[in-house]
C-alpha cells in the first residue's frame, strides 16, 4: 500500500505521512517539521524553494512533475507559483 504526502502530494510514500516519515519528494520530516509549520505552510516553502526533488537516495519517478503532483492534490496555485513551477499549460507550442 502506498500513501500520499499531505504536503507535496507525492503518492508513493511507503509509510503514512506521520511519525517520522520523511517524504523523498519535499523532504518534510513528519512529526518534526510540522511541529513548527502547518502542512500548507511547508508546501508554500517547498514551492518557494522551487519545488525540487529532495532525496538523493530515492530517485524521482520518470517524467516527475511537481506541478502535476500539486494539481492532483487539489492545490490551487497562484500565477506566481505556476510560473515558478513551469506550468506545462502555459507553454505555447507553435506548429507549422
Amino acid at each position: 500500500m502506498k500513501y500520499t504526502c499531505t504536503v507535496c502530494g507525492f503518492p508513493e510514500l511507503a509509510l503514512p505521512p506521520e511519525r517520522d516519515m520523511i517524504c523523498p519528494c519535499c523532504g518534510t520530516h513528519f512529526a518534526y517539521h510540522d511541529s513548527y509549520y502547518s502542512h500548507s505552510e511547508l508546501r508554500e516553502q517547498w514551492i518557494e524553494r522551487g519545488a525540487k526533488w529532495h532525496s538523493k537516495r530515492t530517485a524521482a519517478p520518470p517524467h516527475w512533475s511537481a506541478y502535476q503532483q500539486l494539481i492532483r492534490l487539489g492545490i490551487v496555485l497562484t500565477p506566481e507559483e505556476e510560473k515558478l513551477l513551469g506550468n506545462p499549460a502555459t507553454v505555447i507550442t507553435y506548429t507549422a
Binding site: 509509510l15 520530516h29 518534526y32 511541529s35 513548527y36 509549520y37 537516495r57
Partner: protein, 136 residues
C-alpha cells in the same frame, strides 16, 4: 550453552536487548541522509548503532515527574527525559538536544538533534519533545 539475556528497564518495560532493536528499514536510509551528519556518522550502520546506544543507555538519575508542561506523561532522569505516546517511546536528552523514537515493535523511527528553530520559526527543543509526547 546457556545464553545470557540482558534486560534493560525502558519506561517500565523490560526490553530484551538481544532481541531485535533496529532502525525501521523503510526509514533508515533517508534519516541517515538527513540527520547522519549531526552525529558524524560515516554510514547507515554507524548511525543505527548510535541510535540504539542512545535508546538503551541507562537512565541515570532519580526519575521525577517532568513539570515543564502539564500535558505530557514525561519522566525526567537527569538530563534525559522519556515518555510514551501511543505506540512510540520517545527519549530526549536536554543536554545535547538529541531525540530518538522507538515504536513498540522495537523499530527505531528517528534519531536526530533538535534545533531551536526551523526555517526561521523559533521553538525550544524541549517544547518540540513535549509536543511529541502529548497523550493522544
Amino acid at each position: 550453552m546457556a545464553r545470557y539475556w540482558r534486560k534493560l528497564l525502558i519506561h517500565t518495560e523490560l526490553i530484551d536487548v538481544d532481541s531485535i532493536i533496529r532502525f525501521n528499514p523503510a526509514l533508515l536510509g533517508q534519516h541517515f541522509d538527513d540527520h547522519g551528519a549531526e552525529f558524524g556518522a560515516a554510514d547507515e550502520e554507524e548511525y543505527e548503532r548510535r541510535a540504539i546506544e542512545f535508546l538503551i543507555s541507562p537512565l541515570n538519575g532519580i526519575p521525577v515527574r517532568c513539570n515543564a508542561c502539564q500535558n505530557c506523561n514525561c519522566q525526567a532522569y537527569g538530563t534525559v527525559h522519556q515518555c510514551r505516546n501511543g505506540d512510540d517511546i520517545i527519549r530526549f536528552d536536554t543536554y545535547t538536544n538529541t531525540i530518538a523514537v522507538m515504536d513498540v515493535g522495537r523499530y527505531i523511527r528517528t534519531y536526530h538533534r533538535l534545533t531551536h528553530g526551523y526555517r526561521g520559526r523559533q521553538k525550544a527543543p524541549i517544547k518540540v519533545y513535549h509536543d511529541r509526547c502529548e497523550i493522544k
